[in-house]
């Protein structure tokens, strides 16, 4: 029965539906974006009504929310956190810094394009994006999850070497444990 395609579809559908409506966010509060998370979570915008709530550790989280610019030093930690998260997992890039460097376009220690290093499922642009935008981003992600199109993690796994090469290019002293989740 498990191998039956139709029933597999149903199982997948249910799974995706639950995943869609239960998004536990690990907010990696880099840069100024972290200030936008409290209003998103609390009374005014109340993301919990969509099933979005914070998670304290990467082991429990579904979504890695990167709120702003990432320096090289921070990127190392973010990669580590991402790899500690359990499947299925998604990444949301938040703010223009994650998209093209934003105002840090010529900074000597800030990465400009996040998706070269981590598989970003949804970008939310703006500097800073307001909570409405954040929630819209989440909804977008939910939609993609529901459709089964949020396959960033799978992509990462498949193209691990490429990602790793990119990461190692700017982190020459690579002392992290090897890939695990």
């Amino acid at each position: 029965m498990y191998n039956d395609k139709n029933s597999q579809k149903i199982v997948d559908y249910i799974q995706n539906w639950t995943r869609k409506h239960s998004i536990w966010v690990l907010a990696y509060g880099t840069g100024c974006g972290a200030i936008e998370i409290p209003p998103t979570m609390t009374s005014r915008y109340d993301s919990e009504r969509l099933g979005i709530r914070g998670a304290a550790t990467p082991r429990q989280a579904d979504v890695l929310l990167i709120t702003g610019y990432l320096t090289v030093k921070t990127l190392k930690r973010v990669i580590r956190v991402y790899e500690q998260m359990q499947d299925p997992k998604y990444v949301i890039g938040f703010g223009s810094c994650t998209i093209n460097g934003g105002m840090y376009f010529d900074s000597y220690n800030t990465i400009k394009v996040l998706d070269k290093y981590l598989p970003v499922d949804v970008y939310i642009n703006g500097c800073m994006p307001r909570p409405e935008a954040v929630i819209q981003g989440f909804v977008k992600l939910q939609k993609r999850i529901g459709e089964g199109r949020a396959t960033g993690a799978k992509h990462y796994k498949e193209n691990l070497e490429w990602y790793r090469a990119n990461q190692k290019k700017i982190i020459p002293n690579w002392v992290m444990p090897e890939y695990n989740w």
Binding site: F105, S107, Y108
Partner: protein
């Protein structure tokens, strides 16, 4: 306040022959310029004898044209409510200065920062690991001859589509018809 300042100036000048003062800033600020050899002794003197027990900051200014770094030690006396800037000039090509973290423990942090950002060497500084710039291999990034845009261009991926923002001043002057000021032109990269 003026008597206090005069008193400080007199005592410093009496003890340190090479000290030249500058006293035209805000009412509670005093500047001294000394040779780099005098730095530890003058700081020690300020701390122990004059009550400047707090080290606010150690800063550095890159005088590229003059080929010198100006290192600034800011100390503060909670009793007299006066801050004293002790400045010294060191050679830019051989930026070596005496370590003072035995006078103030917190100086260690500032010295590590200066070491990473300007390449100022403090003799005998014990720094266990990198401070801010992990795995940094380029030149000290706060030096004015370090071209951050070029470095970023070389090191990181750039998403295409923001070529118009390559040089902010040019873009602005083109768009608004403003002239680029002289001091900005001078350091045009």
């Amino acid at each position: 306040m003026k008597e206090l300042k005069d008193n400080i100036i007199n005592r410093i000048k009496a003890n340190f022959k090479d000290a030249t003062e500058k006293n035209d800033f805000s009412y509670n600020r005093l500047d001294f310029h000394v040779n780099k050899e005098t730095i530890p002794s003058i700081l020690f003197y300020l701390k122990d004898e004059m009550g400047f027990i707090h080290l606010s900051h150690i800063s550095c200014v890159d005088w590229l044209e003059e080929g010198e770094f100006e290192v600034v030690f800011i100390v503060w006396s909670p009793k007299d409510k006066i801050k004293v800037f002790v400045k010294t000039r060191i050679d830019r090509n051989n930026p070596v200065l005496d370590n003072i973290d035995m006078i103030w423990r917190q100086a260690n942090t500032y010295e590590r920062e200066l070491k990473e950002m300007f390449g100022v060497q403090f003799t005998g500084l014990v720094a266990p690991e990198e401070f801010i710039l992990e795995d940094w291999q380029g030149p000290p990034p706060f030096r004015r001859d370090f071209d951050t845009a070029a470095y970023a261009e070389k090191t990181f991926w750039h998403r295409p589509g923001r070529e118009d923002a390559q040089n902010v001043r040019e873009t602005i002057s083109k768009r608004d018809g403003e002239e680029i000021p002289d001091f900005a032109k001078k350091y045009e990269r």
